[in-house]
């Protein structure tokens, strides 16, 4: 057929990626140094961890967990704490998803020619929200919102807004531009391009980010209890501190169930969405 003659075959070799490749070398070297320095400077005592003695005391410790406390009164308390944790994390995440979406739009460059004036300040705000751990937010908010789950909910919402806002913005920026460009060429404004072209593409991703954040927040909600923001965490800190191992076991089991439940819910919703 049209098979070219060998004599005419010329091809270029790949462009020498020397500079780029070396950037990569530098980066890898830096990363390696960081990792090595971390392990070295912490002087981790693996020997102590892997010793027979440690295994024994670990075994003893775990043995104390049985039998879990199943007194009905205590179970009621745990159920209440579980519900409070669930509500805190769910509402916190919901608020954060709404606020995050609202902030993600100004924080992303929606298309190539977008000047995106609000991008830098919005990202700064998101970073500030995100860099403060939930626990610290909770401690700050406990002062003005009073003890209890409301402060915890707000703390989760604030921190998670920062996280989700950034993740959403990145998902939006990474969405395939084709559908959006087609509408934009028709003069449709940014908001509606988002609703009709970008959102249907990124929605599963946004949902799965939100759902996975929800799982995170359940664990965070447990931590929040330690500073007095209610939920399972408060019970956990109390009983673990007092060596009530049976009760601790019950609480941990409740936590596991809760996360497994959220995991299943998240998985199910994702399946529904990507069907």
């Amino acid at each position: 057929m049209n098979k070219p003659q060998a004599a005419n075959q010329t091809y270029r070799l790949p462009p020498p990626l020397f500079s780029a490749r070396c950037k990569a070398c530098w980066f890898s070297a830096g990363l390696l140094v960081l990792v090595v320095a971390s392990f070295w400077s912490l002087d981790l005592q693996w020997a102590q961890f892997l010793s027979l003695e440690a295994a024994q005391s670990m075994g003893r410790f775990l043995a104390e967990f049985v039998p879990p406390d199943t007194a009905p009164e205590f179970l009621k308390k745990v159920a209440l704490g579980t519900w409070e944790t669930l509500a805190m994390s769910a509402l916190g995440t919901l608020l954060a998803a709404l606020a995050g979406l609202a902030l993600a739009l100004p924080a992303s460059r929606l298309h190539e020619g977008d000047a995106a004036h609000g991008r830098t300040p919005t990202r700064l705000l998101l970073n500030a929200l995100r860099s403060i751990p939930e626990l610290v937010w909770a401690a700050l908010l406990l002062i003005s919102a009073g003890l209890g789950p409301f402060a915890g909910t707000l703390a989760l919402a604030l921190h998670t807004t920062g996280v989700l806002g950034r993740l959403f913005a990145e998902a939006i920026e990474n969405a395939p531009p084709g559908p959006g460009d087609a509408l934009r060429a028709q003069g449709v404004g940014n908001g509606r391009v988002f609703l009709y072209a970008t959102l249907p593409q990124v929605l599963p991703q946004l949902m799965s980010y939100t759902l996975y954040r929800w799982e995170n927040n359940i664990r965070a909600a447990a931590v929040l209890g330690v500073v007095g923001a209610g939920g399972l965490g408060q019970l956990l800190a109390f009983h673990m501190g007092l060596f009530h191992m049976g009760k601790t076991a019950t609480i941990l089991a409740a936590m596991l169930l809760l996360v497994a439940f959220v995991d299943a819910a998240s998985h199910g919703s994702r399946r529904l969405l990507t069907r």
């Binding site: 392990f39 700050l140 003005s144 990474n174």
Partner: protein, 277 residues
Amino acid sequence: MNTSSVRPPTRDPAWLGRVFWSLAALVLLWPLLVATEFRPWVLLAPESLQVSGHFIGSFWPLAHGAEFLAMVARETWRTVAMATAGMTLALIIALPLTLMSTRVLSISALAGPMARGPFWLRQSVRWLLVVLRSIPELVWALVFVRVVGLGPTAGVLAIALTYGGMLGKVYGEILESGETDATQNLLRNGSGRLQAFFYGLLPASAAELTSYTVYRWECAIRSSVVLGFVGAGGLGQQMDNSMKMFNGGEVATMLLVFMALVALADRVSAGLRKALG
């Protein structure tokens, strides 16, 4: 040509479902608001405004004694080192588990449902990941602290276990949510799983995987701060003290350090994305 004999439908068949689900969402929301005592107006009550205003006012001046700053620098490094070491171990746990659990890389799932064996393997890996991450790192740390005593080992191990679970899961989700046509085409043409991963899946989601990893590293820093609260040392312990004592200046300085760390992580992430994109 377009005088249709078929009459256009007058109703959207999806309508009823939509109304139902919107109402259901509203009905579900109510008990949540009750359970969390959602009363935003208490934030604006004069006494709480005064209390929080007073505390925020004490943020200035920032604590900047040389000794304090040196301590903060030392503890910051400790925190970062704990996070880095924990993340390294977490990656070692997560990578093989991810490859084992991704549905896209399942050959038997190329057509219809997955075969029994691989399905249960995947499912058990998923469960392992669930167990690893459902116990908060704080609890792992409390357990380890009790068993082997204090120090960073407990913190590093706690981060490694929880984050291994989380990374494994989210990597899987990222890989499955992207475009999978290319990967499936490779598998269908008979390539191996790892080959399909490197040639089809990875190029499509490398940027996202990297930025998620950097983000997790940043989360690990925050976690090691939280672990400081139970005695793993680092910035968290100092933060705990200053918070408890309402020492606004110290709190503010440390908050600024957090922000700087997060900004650094962000910068790294953006740079990597650019290099990979």
